[in-house]
Structure formats: structure tokens, C-alpha cells
Amino acid sequence: MDDKFLHQLRREPPTDFATRLKSQLDRSAPTRPHSARWITGFAVFGAAFALVAAPSRHALLAFFESATISPPPPTQKTPISDNPATVEATDLPGGRPDWPRTDQPLRSGKAAAPAPALEPPAPQPALEPQPVADAVPSTANTSIAPIAGLPTVTPAVQAKRAVETRQALFRILSLITQPLDLMVQGRSPVELNLARISAIRLQRLAPMIPEVMHQDTRAISLDTRALENIWNEPADFQSKTEELTLAANALDHASETGDEAATLKAIVRIDMTCTACHDVYRKR
């Protein structure tokens, strides 16, 4: 045995494999570069900030009020204030409505069409005591309150919602993979169409995993199997979730070509991909 002997043990990849893989690669779209992701991220963040920033809220509040309330007569004194908190409900004609009124014309001056009877939203029980920011005017009594209220949710509630959201996603993923498991275990026949539908669904949902796991909930004690490695090693976690998309792509391709063996192989790959991630990032 020598170098030459060892080199001679090499083999060319099978032609059908090389062709199949190339065809599969041709179909895959490249992920956006980091710069594009940053730009998108800043755009989303900027839009979110604009929505929750105090000046924007004031503008939105003013818009909604003017859209739901008829303009006051010229002779009537209109309170002028930039701060909606200083506008008392009694200063407005008819008082400040908590819900769009159906008996008043809209801005256009035309009579409002009779709207379906809408019940005002029932007061929600407060899940957690919410801190009151002195500088932020209260909007709880306005129609914009649901938007403005979002950022004031406590970390505990945010964490709870995040956990619920990601657990919901994983329940759906589990639902999608169940028939695939049955196929690979031989407990149900290999249905290529069903396998392809599952693959397509996984292709759509797998990229959401890093998104729903983005919020670090370690500080809050919640009933979750997520391990802290998810947030300690985000790049590896992201890479593992991308593996699922790739595995789903392979299943999509295999099931589309009607190759039952390749489909089973692709299903096993999905199973492996899930397990590889769970081994590191989920409590047993």
C-alpha cells in the first residue's frame, strides 16, 4: 500500500447521481446575502418603530379621530393640542367615541352606511401589571389602543406568547411529518402525492423556525423544552433549520419524480434532520 494505491481507490460519482443533484441544485434559489437581510431587517424595524413611536401614534390617533367624528361647526371652539392626552372626551362633540360610531357621517360628508352591529371589545383581564410610562400619553381609551398597546406588554407576557407561537408551529410541523413517519415505518403505503404536499408545506414552514425561536425566553420560567443553546449558538441553530428546508427540497424533488425509494430516503433524511436538531436544542 502506498500513495498511488490509495489514490486509485477513488471513484467517479455515478452519472445519474451527478445529473440528479445538478438538476436539484438548479431548482434551488440562493438565500439572500447578509446585506439584503440587514436592509430588510432595518426596514421592518423602522416600520415597527414608526408605528409605535409617540409622534406617529399621535398622528394615527388624530387620523382615526377625524375619520370617525364629524368636523365641528366653525363657530364651535375646537381644542388644539398636539398631545391627545390633553384632549378631553368632553371637549369633542358627542364625546370621544371608544368605537367607531355608526350614526355620524364620515369625513367625506356622506352619510355613513349602516354598519353591522359591532360590539365594543370586551375588557380583557390584565395578565400582568403593566408599567406606566410617564412620558407616553395614555391611549387605552382610544381606537388605536390595540396597536399602541403592543410594545407595553410585559416581558413575561411576551415570552409566554413567544412560547405559544413556537409550540404552535412545531405542532403543525409534527402534524405534517406524521404521515411521512408512517410511510417510512412501513405502516402506511408510500403515497407520493401526500409526500410531496408534506414537502411543500415543510419548505414553507421550516424557514419560520428561526423566526419564532428568535425571542430569547430564558429569563422567564415557562413550560418549554427549548434549550438555551438555541440562543447561545444562533448560527448553528439557523444552519440546522436550513437543513430541514434542504431535506424538504429533496423530498419534493424525489416525490415529484415518482421514485419511491428516493422518496423514502428523503423522508428518512427529514427525520434525521429533525433528530439532529432536537439532540442539541431540545430537552429530552
Binding site: 490509495l6 481507490l9 477513488r10 471513484r11 445538478k22 438548479d26 439572500r32 430516503k265 439532529a276 439532540d279
Partner: protein, 167 residues
């Protein structure tokens, strides 16, 4: 290959595929053995690289290093996953008969080599696969593994001597 040529002007991705596929494929053959694993791991490596190709900005030599870094991670994940044993069992149940290459390998020099290298440390298996599977030179292997070039050469020499003694 659709849309690839424009993403990185320095690289002809079709040529990259043609050039790197045999290297990656043989790297896995030397590293993990059975044919069905080899194809899957090769496919996984290229899929990952292809998805990230828009982010790649370097020359061909750098690309090879980058691609093998992906391949090494793929192997690491493969070996770490407990499921790969289950998977192997499931696949053996699935196929009615071994592939021609599987059959040939059982009685081939390659199978014998894999039996011998199975006893080696992972780092040594890695060097064998990179040198004789991927046909990389010592400098490239040093860049990929983080070892010095002379260390790579010396270690490989010792491994080959050891294998020859057991052959």
C-alpha cells in the same frame, strides 16, 4: 445552471460543480463508507453551498476551502446524530438488495481500508479522506484543518505506514 453565473462573477458555477463534485464525493467515500450515505452527504453539502452561494465572494481556491468546511460540518452532524444508526437500519430494510457498489465494496480494497481506518482517531480519518479522497494537497489540508503543512505531511506519512503494516 440558471441564474448562477451572475451571482459571483469570478466563478463559473458549472465548472465548480464539475470540479468539486468528485472531490466531495470521494471525501465522503473515504470518510463514511457506504454508498447511500455518500450520495446523501454529498448532496447535502452542495445544497448548503448552493443556497449560500450568493454570499460567497472569493476565488476558486477559497471556494474549495469553504466547500470542504461545509462538508466537514455535514460529516460532523452525520456522525453526531444518533439517528444515523436508525436510518442505516431503516435503509437496509428498504432496499431489497444492496447496490452494486455496496456489493463490490464488501469485498474490495476500499472496504478493507475502511475497516482499518475505523480504528483511527477522527482527526486521522479526516486527513486520509482529504488527502486521498478529495485529492487535496498538504497546503490545502492544512488550511482546512488548521494544522501546519508539515504536521499534515508527517501525520499522513505515519498513518500510511501504520496502515501498510496492517494491510
Amino acid at each position: 445552471m440558471q441564474g448562477l453565473e451572475g451571482s459571483t462573477p469570478e466563478l463559473d458555477w458549472n465548472a465548480v460543480y464539475g470540479n468539486q463534485l468528485p472531490r466531495i464525493y470521494n471525501y465522503f467515500r473515504f470518510r463514511v463508507g457506504p454508498a447511500h450515505d455518500v450520495e446523501e452527504l454529498t448532496a447535502r453539502t452542495f445544497e448548503k453551498a448552493w443556497r449560500a452561494r450568493a454570499q460567497y465572494r472569493c476565488n476558486l481556491a477559497g471556494f474549495s476551502t469553504w466547500l470542504f468546511a461545509i462538508a466537514r460540518n455535514v460529516v460532523k452532524d452525520h456522525l453526531r446524530s444518533e439517528a444515523h444508526r436508525i436510518r442505516a437500519a431503516a435503509l437496509s430494510d428498504m432496499s431489497d438488495s444492496p447496490t452494486p457498489e455496496d456489493g463490490a465494496m464488501q469485498s474490495s480494497d476500499m472496504a478493507r481500508l475502511l475497516t482499518l481506518t475505523a480504528q483511527l482517531p477522527e482527526r486521522h480519518k479526516e486527513l486520509i479522506a482529504l488527502k486521498y479522497g478529495a485529492e487535496l494537497n498538504n497546503r490545502m489540508i492544512a488550511r482546512i484543518t488548521g494544522l501546519s503543512e508539515s504536521n499534515v505531511g508527517t501525520t499522513l506519512q505515519r498513518i500510511v505506514i501504520s496502515l501498510r503494516a496492517q494491510w
